[in-house]
Symmetry: C2
Subunit: 138 residues, 2 copies
Amino acid sequence: MNKCIHFITLGVSDMKASRIYYEALGWVASPMSQDDATFFQSGGQVLGLYRQDSLNQDTGLKDPKPGGLTLGVNLHSRKEVDDLYEQALKAGATVLKRPQATPWGGYVGYVADLDGHPWEFTYVAQLVPDESGVLTLP
Amino acid sequence: MNKCIHFITLGVSDMKASRIYYEALGWVASPMSQDDATFFQSGGQVLGLYRQDSLNQDTGLKDPKPGGLTLGVNLHSRKEVDDLYEQALKAGATVLKRPQATPWGGYVGYVADLDGHPWEFTYVAQLVPDESGVLTLP
């Protein structure tokens, strides 16, 4: 198996609002995007927004409730975590847990996006991505 | 914002079983892994397994129900989709939708992992990753 995840597709209820939200956080929508799907190049993978009802038709799953997994962005300092956290709140995210030191030496905040998908903004000295965005385990 | 997702953390109920499942699909656990967390290098990002109750403590979310998003692996042919699909079933995944042609010209199958996280195995000629696993939008 190719040990990569190439596509992360978030179910959303309001495509326009969600597109605006992710654009406010710096993602740039591809011209491939359509009314019912938005695509963002995200490092070497693609972040997609897709209508939740269409996604449920594809997977056959009903009434999903976000929170079974988190998507994490690793940053270069506590200040970057604080800044991104505030930027997300301004764009419409909801506070889950404000940035704080963790018992394992990290500094982490959690927000929910417009549909409740939980995102984690993290600074931990041993897990800082390189300039191209690649994160390599020690 | 760094327009990358660096960490995907899946909540799991049985760490050992889930680690065996993802190892059966080709991911290699890092020596950083611990009893309550498993880490896999996955291209330029990290795929983590974490106890769902611990994840819920971190996010403050209760009773998540997987399906709000999908994680996709893009392959190089229909046969690779079929093969990976069978490999996942043998490793303990559940059928959501068997691989089939889509109206938009793709070939896609969906499985749920041991905790119900939906994964999408896809072949679509315009979206084939390069040799290093990077997927670039046209």
